[in-house]
Assembly symmetry: C2
Homo-oligomer: 213 residues x 2
DNA sequence: GGATGTGAAGTCGTTCACAGCT
DNA sequence: AGCTGTGAACGACTTCACATCC
């Protein structure tokens, strides 16, 4: 297979296949065809095969894919077979929600520290619910703690006005991945990655569809 | 201008233009060119013009766009000039976070009710922070309350196993828009709209980019 | 002169259709 | 016989380039 640039959408679908395969594995299914996986994930069967073809040959012609193997391969491709260490910057409503959002913990994404500028919040710990609480540090200790705790992904949940300067701190600390919840565009150097999660953009999208159908 | 199907990406960018124009309006800028708006939003200038062209002619040749007018037009197009009434279904970690997530309130998206099946949660109210608290009802009152409070968008924050049945309830109650946070695919009839917000998909995406760069 | 609006070109992603294996 | 893997066709979105208008 010749090398090609891999579409962003392919990566998102791999994540979806991964979820479906996990369910299939749990229910004891051993082999799956591209058609079965496709209908489960609501995509085209050729799309499934094409997506996988970017990364190699995983199936057996005439048979299908071995569920367990395919799941492992996809996780390896995505990099979701390792544990990722994350920090939350900005312990407001959304930030503290993420800290106690256990669904991350079930996965391979762990929040191992959090930061804020507001002293009242900085003294304590949060995440009352089960599991060990996540410490809150003053943001001026970000670089130090990020190195110490090997943080690889930063979740920016500050007000938009602070987002870029927090991003700069993360870059300086060598945190290469950023998940940006602050509705403002962030710029980072080559080699760093930002993904945005803007609730209002998604809601605007819904509003548009509801207004025009 | 002939009618064309409007790309999803165009709608997302309109939301972004909207945010930038709001900032410009606040800082007193009156006129903006497609090139200026484009660089602010980190897109191509032709893209800005093309996006707007789907909906009409909003600019003045040789001059640019009137900030205030363009902002109004975009909001009208998106349907974000009206107030949208929403409900949260599933008052767990994420659900209660959204209830107290004030950033929605600044916007035109209001959470006016919430629902759960777990009695302990159902008795009370949440959202301690400023603003009036949002009532929590038992999910079996969803249809009744949805009509009464004219709910138009439902945010599903239940475990994945419950997501489809909650969606069915929303459909039955005539709630046409769904924002689905439960990482599972949901099916709704024609005329209803679902947008997914899957944190693990986004994190998988980040993980992939970090692993392969 | 200068910026918009838009057909045409270019790029990217999806679907088809079938050759190639098992 | 059946399902994968993939070149080719198709369709969708983006960018270019320029005619159009203020």
């Amino acid at each position: 297979m010749k090398y090609q640039k891999i579409p962003e959408a392919t990566i998102r679908r791999l994540s979806r296949y991964s979820r479906c395969l996990e369910e299939m594995e749990e229910s004891g299914e051993e082999v799956v065809s591209s058609a079965q996986l496709a209908s489960r994930c609501m995509v085209n069967a050729a799309q499934v095969r094409k997506d996988l073809a970017y990364f190699g040959e995983f199936g057996i012609r005439g048979v299908g894919y071995h569920v367990k193997n395919l799941l492992n391969d996809i996780k390896r491709i995505l990099g979701s077979n390792k544990e990722w260490r994350m920090a939350v910057i900005g312990v407001g409503n959304l930030g503290s929600a993420l800290l106690s959002y256990k669904d991350f913990l079930k996965q391979n994404y762990k929040i191992v520290a959090s930061f804020d500028i507001d002293p009242p919040k900085v003294i304590g710990r949060v995440s009352e619910k089960l599991g060990k609480p996540v410490e809150i540090f003053h943001v001026n200790r970000l670089k130090e703690i990020a190195k110490e705790r090997k943080i690889e992904i930063g979740l920016i949940t500050t007000p938009p006005s602070e987002a870029q300067s927090v991003a700069d701190l993360l870059v300086e600390a060598g945190v290469r991945g950023i998940l940006n919840f602050a509705p403002t565009q962030i710029v980072v150097p080559e080699g760093f990655v930002v993904k945005d999660v803007f609730f209002t953009t998604i809601l605007d999208n819904l509003a548009y569809l509801l207004s025009n159908n």
